[in-house]
């Protein structure tokens, strides 16, 4: 399942089924075709054939005023070769690498760190094991140190090929500080524990492959590491932005449902201090864990 990122195969007509759970929105990729509103308690359809012959990235946005951050409600569309689309779609249906729950006490076994490690030795529910038909190898054990496993087959539009106007340049809000030195050194195992405990992420988010993460309020995080943006297309998906997002999402994006997680931070939407009180180190760990979810 994807969030704010859309992949379309070149040369095929796409039919969008448009539904909204809350207020009216509108779905529009300006450079590709016209728009269609999403009307509550209705299902709308929009179909067109993307008029592109090369793989490319396109900006999309919500274009019906929907609340405080209507101006921030954006998404990306990628038109890709049909084979790449099939590969991407199949990958989306699977659990991510790193999604399994951490083993309770067993320390990481370096001997197991090899691509293709069998599922039997890994934690529970690793449904991608043995599924090689579309070139997706078995996911690695999430308890080992985070060396992201390179997935064979197309799973994401290469970031280096994205045109500059599709990379968000939203500036970071003032007053939200994070110790960037901690980034890149987080412990994904600890992060995996935190998301289901102190971080309270399980209340809102789903990570397929992790039976405790089945929340449906926030975006699906199963393959978040492959996505190019966060915050509904508002910020680039990298550690700096992700860490600050977790620390105080409402400051990053006005009116957002996600609560403030960072210790000592004030939540301007709920108008209270953070209840989860994550330190910068803990956030760095969570970021590291999320970066494993390819």
């Amino acid at each position: 399942m994807t969030a704010n990122e859309l992949y379309l195969p070149l040369g095929r007509t796409v039919n969008f089924t448009l539904r909204t759970q809350d207020v009216i929105h509108s779905f529009w990729v300006p450079a590709l075709a016209g728009k269609r509103d999403l009307i509550s308690n209705h299902t709308n359809y929009l179909w067109y054939t993307p008029d592109s012959t090369t793989a490319d990235a396109w900006n999309g946005a919500c274009v019906e005023y929907c609340g405080t951050s209507h101006g921030n409600m954006r998404f990306k569309t990628f038109t890709v070769a049909p084979a790449d689309f099939e590969s991407w779609a199949a990958h989306q249906a699977q659990a991510a690498a790193g999604s399994a729950l951490p083993a309770a006490t067993t320390p990481p076994n370096p001997a197991l760190q090899q691509p293709g490690a069998t599922a039997a030795a890994a934690g529970p529910t690793n449904p991608s094991a043995g599924r090689s038909a579309v070139g997706v190898p078995a996911a690695a054990d999430s308890t080992k140190a985070a060396t992201p496993v390179m997935q064979a087959g197309f799973i994401a539009f290469p970031r280096e090929k994205m045109p500059p106007h599709t990379i968000p340049q939203t500036p970071l809000p003032e007053g939200l500080h994070f110790d960037d030195n901690l980034l890149g050194k987080g412990d994904p195992a600890n992060g995996a524990k935190l998301v289901v405990s102190q971080g309270a992420c399980l209340g809102c988010h789903t990570i397929k492959g992790n039976p405790m993460m089945i929340g449906v309020i926030g975006p699906n995080l199963t393959h978040i590491a492959t996505r190019t943006t966060i915050g509904a297309g508002l910020y680039p998906n990298d550690e700096r932005h992700l860490a600050r997002w977790i620390k105080n999402a409402p400051v990053m994006k006005p009116g957002v449902y996600m609560v403030t997680e960072g210790a000592g931070e004030f939540d301007p939407v709920r108008k209270m201090k953070s209840a989860t009180n994550l330190t910068d180190q803990q956030i760095a760990d969570i970021v590291a864990y999320l970066q494993t979810l390819k």
Partner: protein
Amino acid sequence: MATAAVRLPHTTADEYEHSGLWSWLATVDHKRIGALYMYTALAWFAVGGIEALIMRWQLKGPNGHVVSAEVFNQLFTMHGTTMIFLVVMPLSAAFFNFLIPLQIGARDVAFPRLNAFSYWVYLFGSLFMNSSWLVGAAPNGGWFGYAPLTTLAYSPGLNIDFWMLGLQILGVSSLAAAFNFITTIINMRAPGMNLMRMPMFTWMAFVVQFLLVLAFPVITIALVFLQFDRFFGTNFYTLTAGADPLLWQHLFWIFGHPEVYILILPAFGLVSEILPTFSRKPIFGYPVMVYSGILIAFLGFGVWAHHMFAVGMGPVADSVFSMTTMLIAIPTGVKIFNWIFTMWGGDLKFTVAMKFAISLVALFVIGGISGVMHASPPADLQQTDTYFIVAHFHYVLVAGSIMGLWGGLYYYFPKITGRKLSESLGNWHFWIFFIGVNLTFMPMHWSGLYGMPRRIYTYDAGQGWEIFNQMSTWGAIIQAIGTILGFWNVWTSRKNGEIAGDDPWGGGTLEWSIPSPPPDYNFAVIPTVTSRYPMWDMKSPALTADVPHTREDDERSDISLGGRKVGSMHDHMSAGTPEGGVNPHAKQASTKVDLKTAEELGIPMPYPTIKPLFVALFMTLMFASLLFIHESKLPVGVVSIMICAATMTAFLYAWLTSPLEPEHGH
């Protein structure tokens, strides 16, 4: 001449006070009420303009942070609501009030106290809606307030309550005024003025009153549904109860589309007065100008869903509304041609009023063309909800309505105050405003087509929108400078403007036959009208050689009731004739001789009364008391509503049972 003091519409002292605060609070004189509407609307114009300037400063570059997202959303909501309901409609009402009785040869409107009531409701309603800023809860649902965003579930604060109640209050004002003017125009025209001799402004105003009567109830229904949902637990728009958001949209736009014709037709009427005067030619194709105005209004009720081409109504509905929308361009285009043909071959005089009028004709074409482009659903699926639409409606509203209204002000200021606005300052005002308007709104066509959505508080860099937004921001600042010059012109010309006589422009219609400013009774002798340009008939008959005229035996100058002749022009004209008689064919009381008072002329004038003000005040407070319910103060709210309702009813009873004017026998 410049040292003579300006005379307010009530010119000479008699038993009623003619100056001071009380005379304004208790006035029932249509000319004063028109002045009140004008000044109040200009004040809100400044407020709406400041709201726009703040937004434009935020949007001049990507990722701007002048104000927060929440405040920006309030700004665009209030800018739209203010400009539509508190500026353009009341400015039009100012002209309806001031001009209609003068143009039809009447002494006042049909219901003078109801007229005052309409103004006070507008004032108190506008103050109520804007008081929301003081509590940090200005409306934030857009001026169109789509459900379910405006339902309690998604807008739990007071913001939408202020908007919803404010609009309902303002609706009362407009509806009362509409009934008033319809009655006035049908019943109180001078003898000889059949419908096809009415001035163009009065005709357009007449059409607008019917639009108001038919359109406002629809938005009232939409708002009442929302009110009952938000306050009393009904489910007209409640998502979880399965409500269909399109209910709101249809109801709103069935009102909303006629509303835009309410906004433009008065300006069209003013242009149709200004162009003939400064071309020294009658309006070209008067009957067609009348019929096209009626047709625009009629067709205007059949196009509403062109605001909804993106909601998925299906190809049949889309096609029908597309066709009707294209159709309505025809009567509008006819007017443009007729205005051009009015000027063609005329003896043109480019006063400031004329410049504003010509500017409307030219720039409305731009707005109209983009409007017709929206009429195609496939094209509109790219254009809707983008700055392309913003460009369209600002061209027709600012380069259209506002230009026309300023032109009307430059044209009629001498009649209202007795002094002309400064032509030199006016030229600065006009040209700076003209440049500003085009610099602001022309680039928006491009940013819209390049994908810039509307109602966004900021946008990212690198989208190709920066240059257009910069141009729009500078254009807005230039517009503001021009407008300030206009305000300055109004302010200084009240005391220092060149004294205007009865007829500074050589106009052809009845309002130019009486002093400037007119005495409280308007016409000492109700004139008899011989064509649609009665002043030209008298002063410059060559100009109206081709216009239908009354012959001496023309029965239209007889007064008939149900086909029976019950009087003649001579009988009517004797009403109010001063002692010693007066020239029955005279159409003006000269300003050079002592102006007689109403009393001296034996003309009964309505009593000034403050009761309409109090009825308006307590009605507004009664609506406002509903807010207590959303502040968890239900008992306070109920008690407040009851007290306000009782007080309002008491004043209303006193109003209805007191006579309008002294007894007069004949």
